[in-house]
């Protein structure tokens, strides 16, 4: 469990966007992300365009409140350990918070568990994406521990949000991904009197 201090936050509901939910399009965005700690190769731009693709690539985006302080890097390290599991499921993994890319890069360099991260850390510095997703905590303006599964058409298929101090179960994310992806695409799945599946 997280050793960090749990800060109790008072809920205020003025001008806070509703959280985005399943069946909705993932918001448009273009953000800088940290992809490496190698000098000159640290940053890349990630746009929401790649979420919509013909290559059947899904996206899992998971958020944490703050670099260095709130989040247990163990949770991020857990996602990293399962990186190949996401790859096998044609899924692109993206970590995100409202910290800047420079804070992300510094945290990656600083922490043993984060140095060889295989997925990008997105920097939502303007907090616009977290706001569009409706996962911005109203007082501190930091993101909740939200996880999104986005299908290859850019539609959100699963949302899970934990309060700031509650860690996630990566296995659960994989289980949901499996359930969403296994569509029994084979016409063998045909039952008499039913139309065959059209893919």
């Amino acid at each position: 469990m997280c050793p960090e201090k749990v800060v109790h936050l008072q809920q205020t509901n003025n001008n806070i966007k509703d959280m985005i939910t399943i069946g909705q399009k993932f918001p448009e965005c273009s953000k800088t992300a940290v992809v490496s700690i190698e000098k000159g190769k640290e940053f890349e731009t990630i746009t929401s365009d790649f979420m919509v693709n013909d290559d059947n690539v899904w996206t899992v985006m998971f958020w944490w409140p703050k670099d260095f302080t709130f989040v247990c890097p163990t949770e991020i390290a857990e996602f990293n350990k399962s990186y190949n599991e996401f790859r096998d499921r044609d899924t692109r993994l993206i970590g995100a918070s409202t910290d800047t890319e420079f804070v992300h890069a510094a945290w990656r360099r600083d922490h043993d568990d984060l140095r060889d991260l295989k997925f990008p850390m997105l920097a939502d510095t303007s907090k616009s994406l977290a706001e569009d997703l409706g996962i911005l905590e109203p007082n501190e303006k930091i993101a909740y521990r939200a996880t999104f599964i986005v299908d290859p058409t850019g539609i959100i298929r699963w949302v899970s949000v934990n309060d700031l101090s509650v860690g996630r179960n990566v296995k659960e994310v994989l289980r949901v991904l499996d359930a969403l992806q296994t569509d029994e695409l084979c016409p063998c799945n045909w039952v008499k009197g039913e139309e065959t599946l059209s893919v």
Binding site: D178, A179, L185, C186, P187, C188, N189, W190
Partner: protein
Amino acid sequence: MRGFFIHIHLKIMNESTEIINEILQSLGIDISYRTDSITLLEKGESRYLRDLKLNLASILTSEHLSTKECALIGLSTAINNNNPLLTQFFTRYAEEQGAIAAETAEAAGCASLLASNNVFYRFRHFTQKEKYGQIPARIRMQLMMKPVTGKEFFELMSLAISAVNGCEMCVNAHEDSLIKLGTTEERIFDAVRIASLVTSAGKVIF
């Protein structure tokens, strides 16, 4: 009279060996290759050797399939049938006919995936129990989403493999799906014909 008999006998024996050699050469296999079954056919001077040779030759081309497609269906069937010698032959043949690595890979993937589907869906069809239809299969088949050989051809390979594996409803479902995609019955027929004759050849060459 006795001399004449021996003469005929030797002539026929040579012919059997000759036909075996021709079959082996056409498959790129050393002519010294023998399985127990080939030895039996050779010793008994079986007329079947001629059938075997002509049947094998007849699946390399088709009026309704390109030579590459013939080769890929042959390859997928050979892999489904765990036949290393025919797998090697059809891999070479497919490459000669212009198949790229992603296409021969798909023939292998199709054989393996359909083997699971043929067992699994055949079970569902056999029992026809509602309960088994409701539990998710949890068999990943993303390969079917965007086949490099094209949706229609992947269906055709799937049908051929399902026919070999004897899954009645899989065969009907793939056939139905192909007809809806506009495939001619002649093309479907030839695909199954190739799969049946590769299976047949695999009984003596493996």
